[in-house]
Structures are given as C-alpha cells and as structure tokens.
C-alpha cells in the first residue's frame, strides 16, 4: 500500500537536496566554528554564509539571526528573554488564546514569576482583532506575542497591523512564524516584528535546528549560558550541518514558493470541497480565505478524532488531530475551543496538511476513503444515534 502523508504541519521530510548540502559537514568539514585553525575557519564561513542566506530571505541583517535548536527554544528565548530584559520597564505581556504550547506554556511560567498576562480571544475563524491588541496595551506592556499562522487551523493573523501598533508604542513584538515560513512570504519589515521564530524541520530542513530573528537594538536576555557563540545570545557549539541545512531548505522553499503555494492551495481546496461534499456534518475550521495554502482542518461531527486517525492510518493515510505534540492529552485542542467549537466537535477534528510531495491522487484517495470511515464510526457513536434518533435506546 502506498502511504500518503498529510501531516506536513507536524514535520516535513528533509529535502534530499538539503541533505546533500549538509553531508560534508558531518565528517569532512567538521571543525568547531569557534576554533582558530583552518578546520574551524572553514565551518565558520559556512555558518556565516547560512546566516546571510536566511537573513536575506527574511529581509533582515545577518547578525539579526540567532541559530537555535528549534522553534520551541526560539519561542522560550523570545518570551523569557524579553520579559527578563525589560522587567524594569513593566510586567505586562499580551498574547492570544491560540498560540502554540511553546508560547502559551512559557507565558504561563512567566505568570508564576509575577508577569501579568492578557490572553486575547479570537473570532470564529481564529482571527485576532488588532483593535483588541490596541485596547489591551497599558503603560506596563513590554511584549506582544501573536503567531503568524496557526498550526492547527491555518488562519493567518494580521501581523503587519499588530506590528504597526506595537511599533508606535515601542513595545517588543514577537511572532511565531513556524507554520508560515516557506509557505507564504515572511519579511520582518513588512510584518514590523522585533522577534520571529522558525523551525527548519517545518520547511524541509533538518530537525533540531531553527532560528530566532532579533531586530537590532532589541533587548534580550540569553536562555542558554556558556560560550561566546552567536554574539552571546545563544551559547553552545554550532550545529554546523543543521545550520547549513536550514539555509539550503529556506532557499529552496523560497525559490519554489510562488508556484508551490498555488499548487497546494488548489489541492487543499479540492480536498475541502471533496470531503465536505461527500461527508454530511463535516465543517471546515479556520478562515475561509486567510489561511495557509496547505492546511485543511475539518470537524467530523459525532465521532472522535483519534479513531478517525487510526482508521485513516489503516488506509495508509497520515493526518493529525490537533497538534502532534499534544495528541496524547485528553483535553481537546485549545485552538478549537477558542474558535467556539463544543468539546465533542473539537474532539472530532482532523488536520490534513499538504506539502511538497502531495499529489492529486493523494487527495482523491482521501476523499474516496473518508465517507466509509466516518459512517463506520458514526454507526458506533451514541452521539450520532441521539442526533438521528434512529435506534436510540429509549426506556
């Protein structure tokens, strides 16, 4: 059975071209970029070339890029680093109800440390209202963190508008751009952000590496102390292959973005139309148009997500319910609750995320098998029975 991967938002396979560029840096050009000798200088050049590539694609300056171990670290660094660096200026942080856990849990930890948090609501499409941001700001506000595109429902936030508001008031503005990078244009000046997080494995680069963009002049305390690497903003021996791979992946994604995003959006729309046409009581989550080209999040009423995932998996189709890292909790996704879904509908929502190797046939196959899966599970579901009032046990 040919397996179909529709979980590109959880992680992507590395592009083989990326691996080709990385390979020499494992065994041949292996020196520590901090070393004086030729082994170190050659990898130092590679790291700096990668920094130029990545910064260039974002419209940033090279020394505004800090390489880290992934977006979890980037988000933790951005939030804790700003909070502690600006503690004397204030203690108020504004964020949204639909952030990734690496933001929301870090913010929760800061709350315990005495910071005051405003958690902005979203509308039924998962959209933050810039006016809400404006209203939430007070004289103690030191940081705003709103994600660029949501990882579950794909809604793209009005970051540029929020950025303008933050800039006018000189409040540090962070965005988690993990899901948008490589899929839609991301330019730090257009978005008017001071801090921006990225994770390479989400755009066909290697796992365990990412970056934090830090606008010149932004005050930030380091999270990892140690050596002098990254201008003392992040200690630790450079992950040279990972950094080289990040640049390669970013470059390739950038080159193909215009074409690829249209290709994926067409497939995405075909998938959404196909599923909601073939399955009753299936509804799209997220914004109808302001959404990532590769995200389709659909609620299948009366049935539960994991059993849908398992059934899809039995057909060789990989998708996700909520975000991968929380798939083991019992609570439904905080994002789906935030857009107003009931607990039971939230529990029955599936994210299909498309990518570079998704084909027409893949989409057709999902549309073909889903109705059977859904009706099989609905036959088993007491909620469906209640709703249809067929065969309901009445005593």
């Amino acid at each position: 059975m040919k397996r179909i991967y529709l979980d590109y938002a959880a992680t992507t396979p590395a592009d083989p071209r990326v691996i080709d560029e990385m390979l020499p840096f494992f065994t041949e050009h292996f020196g520590n970029p901090s070393s004086v000798h030729s082994f170190g200088q050659e990898t130092k050049s590679a790291v700096e070339a990668a920094r130029e590539t990545v910064s260039g694609l974002l419209g940033a300056a090279p020394d505004e890029i800090v390489f880290v171990s992934g977006a979890t670290e980037a988000n933790n660094t951005a939030l804790k680093g700003t909070a502690f660096a600006k503690r004397d200026k204030g203690n108020h942080i504004i964020t949204s109800a639909i952030e990734h856990h690496s933001v929301s849990e870090t913010v929760a930890a800061l709350k315990k440390e005495g910071f005051r948090i405003t958690n902005l609501p979203v509308d039924r499409y998962g959209m933050v209202d810039p006016d809400d941001v404006k209203k939430a700001i007070d004289e103690k506000t030191i940081l705003i963190s709103i994600m660029h595109a949501n990882n579950e429902i794909g809604t793209i936030q009005p970051i540029a508008e929020i950025g303008k508001i933050a800039r006018e008031r000189s409040i540090t503005f962070h965005t988690d751009a993990v899901q948008s990078l490589g899929h839609i244009p991301v330019n730090v000046d257009d978005l008017d952000v001071d801090l921006l997080s990225g994770s390479s494995h989400k755009f066909y680069g290697p796992k365990g590496v990412g970056f934090l963009y830090v606008r010149k002049g932004t005050k930030l305390t380091a999270l990892l102390f140690g050596g002098d690497q990254e201008k003392r903003r992040r200690a630790g021996t450079h992950n040279t292959p990972g950094i080289v791979g990040t640049a390669a992946a970013a470059r390739i994604a950038h080159e193909s973005m215009a074409e690829e995003s249209v290709r994926e959006a067409v497939l995405r729309d075909r998938l959404i139309k196909g599923i909601t046409g073939a399955v009753q009581d299936a509804s799209l989550n997220g914004h109808p148009t302001m959404r990532l080209p590769n995200n389709a999040n659909i609620s299948f009423h009366f049935i539960e997500g994991e059993s849908i995932l398992l059934s899809l998996d039995m057909e060789g189709i990989a998708a996700s319910s909520g975000s991968a890292c929380t798939s083991s909790t019992l609570e439904p996704s905080h994002v789906l609750l935030a857009i107003g879904l009931s607990h039971e509908v939230a529990h029955g929502s599936i994210r299909f995320s498309l990518g570079r190797w998704t084909t027409d046939e893949d989409v057709a196959r999902v549309i073909e098998v889903l109705p059977g899966i859904v009706s099989r599970l609905r036959v088993m579901s007491p909620l469906f029975a209640e709703r249809t009032s067929h065969g309901i046990v009445q005593r």
């Binding site: 398992l310 039995m314 019992l330 039971e344 088993m380 579901s381 007491p382 909620l383 309901i392 046990v393």
Partner: protein, 126 residues
C-alpha cells in the same frame, strides 16, 4: 502516544456487538464529551445471565476496543460474575493498554456497572 497491541487494533478494526439492544433490560452510559469518551452499554438478561450485550462508543481507538472487549467478556456470564470483571481484566484481555489509555478500561467497567444497576432498578420497579 504509545502504540496499541494487535488485540486492541483487532477489536478496533472489527468491533464486536456494535449497536443498541432494542428491548434492553439494562443500559449504562458513562463518560462525557469533555474528555472525549462516551460509552453506552446495553444488556439483555435472562435468569440472571447476560444473554446479549451491545455497545456504542464515541471515543478513541482504546475506548472502542475496550467497549467491544467487555461485551464479549460478559456475554453468557451471570450478573455476579460479570461484575467481577475489573477494568484491569479488560485491559489484560486486550494484551494491555498504553498508560494514558487505561481510563478507557475504567470507563468500560463503569458503564457495565451502570447497565447492571439500571437492570436491577428496572426489575425492582416491575
């Protein structure tokens, strides 16, 4: 998310005794949509013996498999013996459940208890 045993997957793939007994003698419902699991167990009883059992479940793979397994385990058993089936016994019959899914077996055992309670009250009322 730990992976499921072959037994669990077998019961998930081919659940036994799906549905509701039209003229059930007892029905038990357990769980709620908050936590994502709802189980409904209906039994048919004759001479204190469970002669039929069916289930309907909204829930994860483990929830469906434990529901299916418990209907198999109680059919033909006396009410007394059926009540002796612990949630661990159900999990064991499925060759184990991931730690995070043990609550599903508890749910199944609880649904059974409720169905028996319902049956007993129903009988008392007669």
């Amino acid at each position: 998310m730990e992976s499921y045993s072959d037994k669990v997957m077998d019961h998930f793939r081919k659940p036994r005794n799906v549905g509701a007994i039209d003229d059930a003698d007892g029905v038990g419902k357990e769980g709620n949509p908050m936590c994502g699991d709802i189980m409904e167990l209906s039994i048919k009883v004759k001479d204190d013996t469970i002669i039929d059992a069916k289930f309907r479940t909204f829930g994860c793979g483990a929830a469906i498999a434990t529901s299916s397994m418990i209907t198999e385990m109680i059919k033909g058993k006396s009410i007394q013996d059926a009540l002796k089936i612990s949630n661990r016994a159900v999990a064991e019959a499925l060759d184990g459940l991931p730690a995070k899914k043990m609550h599903c077996s508890v749910l199944a055992a609880d649904a059974l208890k409720k169905a028996v309670d319902d049956y007993r009250e129903h009988r008392k009322a007669l």
